[in-house]
């Protein structure tokens, strides 16, 4: 089946290619009558502009890129990214931008992908997740002058827009809540330690615990998987003065931690209170349902997408706080026995 082009429309309308282009793009240079005639013909024959031709003649590719840098087994389980993606999509689809996805193993490969996409002119901008300390991706993006939005800060990203959520505030709120319930021995099982938002949370956790005089507050590093989360929990619970409450950096580890506690004969929340970061249906499914730090991840993603589209349009660099988590108490937290 032959795809219609503007030349086909031009022939049928008895005008030139240029006129058709002006008409379809709402540019001045054609009369209103002619424009309507042309638009009608385009509608009728089901015309869609060839994205390659458009991109080639200087216009944008109308696509943005997203790389996911996690091993496959971790991607499958984390509801976070899917939430983020559907948030992006909502915003991108509305302005008919396509989303190009690539799964990579390391940040170095991620940089390669950015370079290739840029060289191929395949995308107009990228969304960067999982910001790290001295992130290798930032200088490359600046060098390529590739519009970008970084999620996972706040961090030092120079002239690149950031969208982040107030993790420090959320940690503080959570610890205060647990202390108010009567907990004194609070532990935290963190996500990957090299991610900047993990470090933010860890620092805030230490700070608030110190300020409240909790000396035994520890953060055990983990990697977001249920396996590691369970293992970390087991290590925390075999000690003599085991914590009476644990905060987990994601829902999957929290669910795993719950299973470990139950397997060790500890009652939740009687013997151990559990708080999960990033609420997901998962948290309300298990028994008892988990107290969680909820945030609207899709809206967080939509926000990032809007900022990226603004950056592509050459708007100003921003530094936006969005989607701050708030505590949703459920059955997994109570005063310690």
């Amino acid at each position: 089946m032959k795809r219609p082009t503007i030349a086909d429309i031009a022939r049928r309308a008895g005008v030139s290619k240029g006129a058709v282009s002006y008409a379809l793009n709402g540019q001045p240079g054609v009369s209103e009558a002619t424009r309507q005639r042309i638009v009608a013909i385009a509608q009728e024959i089901g015309f869609n502009p060839n994205s390659a031709a458009r991109a080639l003649s200087g216009a944008s590719a109308r696509a943005v890129g997203l790389t996911l840098c996690r091993p496959a087994r971790m991607l499958g389980i984390e509801p976070f990214f899917m939430g983020l993606i559907s948030g992006f999509e909502a915003e991108l689809a509305a302005r008919s931008y396509a989303l190009t996805l690539q799964v990579v193993a390391t940040p170095e490969l991620e940089v390669e992908v950015y370079r290739r996409w840029w060289g191929e002119r395949r995308i107009d901008g990228v969304i960067v997740t999982d910001l790290r300390e001295n992130d290798v991706r930032i200088p490359v993006l600046q060098q390529l002058q590739l519009p970008a939005v970084v999620i996972g800060g706040p961090g030092d990203t120079g002239r690149i827009t950031q969208v982040w959520s107030d993790d420090a505030g959320a940690v503080t709120e959570t610890v205060r809540y647990l202390v108010a319930l009567g907990h004194r021995r609070i532990a935290r099982v963190s996500g990957l330690p090299d991610l900047l938002h993990t470090q933010t949370r860890t620092k805030a956790f230490s700070a608030v615990c110190a300020s409240l005089g909790l000396n035994e507050a520890v953060t055990v590093p983990s990697d977001y998987t249920g396996e590691e989360g369970g293992r970390a929990t087991r290590r925390l619970l075999i000690g003599n003065d085991r914590p009476t409450a644990i905060i987990y950096d994601n829902d999957v580890m929290a669910v795993a931690g719950l299973a470990v506690a139950q397997e060790m004969g500890l009652a939740v929340p009687g013997d151990l209170s559990i708080v999960a970061w990033d609420d997901s249906p998962l948290c309300s499914l298990v028994h008892p349902p988990l107290t969680a730090l909820s945030r609207d991840i899709a809206e967080y993603g939509a926000h990032a997408a809007r900022e990226l589209l603004a950056a592509i349009d050459g708007k100003q660099v921003g530094n936006v706080e969005a989607g701050t988590a708030h505590l949703t108490p459920r059955g997994s937290t109570a005063p310690p026995r």
Copy 2:
């Protein structure tokens, strides 16, 4: 920063654009010495062919499309799609194809997306998931002659390649296993009833139950969400002759079912055995860990991607069975008390 083009390479190598094109694409028409010189220069200046220019001059777009047709809240929780995507990616990245993703609400909108992608020449082929009965997407794909691979059959897809897993066999195996344990009242909580593979499973379930003389075998339709799965479970368990075993069409509903059973004071597996379809880390996290129908979803996706690339290259239409699920017994199944 200016992107290098073949004209830049040509100038530096002292040859014509055409020669550079031949050299970089391994076409005959240049000497080996010249080719190496050109390739070296391309390497040195970090050349990547402009994908738009390439696509415009008749070559392929080097991209494939995937539409996900589920409400956002369902996407987030289902590990299945992420597994599938990382499987696609592995295969696509190896042949440097990009993956373009779009989240849509209905199959009708999905068709619109296909038409637009095709019109824009944005993609070379699509992967179609969640095949339905009399699926509206199939005739459109055939009309557009857009290379495609369908996942979720087997069904009537005409000249479009299918990749499917033997769900009927897996159901049969599972029911036989439960009957061997001594169960006679087995129920099933299914996924969305209009999906073809749900129907396949339902038919197979009825058939095997009938052949084994289980008269009380029922399938309760649900929608893959934990909420609905829990509700369906509750309905099944309040009856007088409640089932002693339930098979769930995905892991999320199974976990929800487990929570409902525990909340109702039923012991798992003592009072109720549970089997989950599609193993995920989730299944081993909960307590007791869930017996599951495991399959290598990433490999399933990789298989589909390979078939799609073959279809794009004009290879023959296939009908491949891949990634059949096998039963992984864990703590959630036992003889009924």
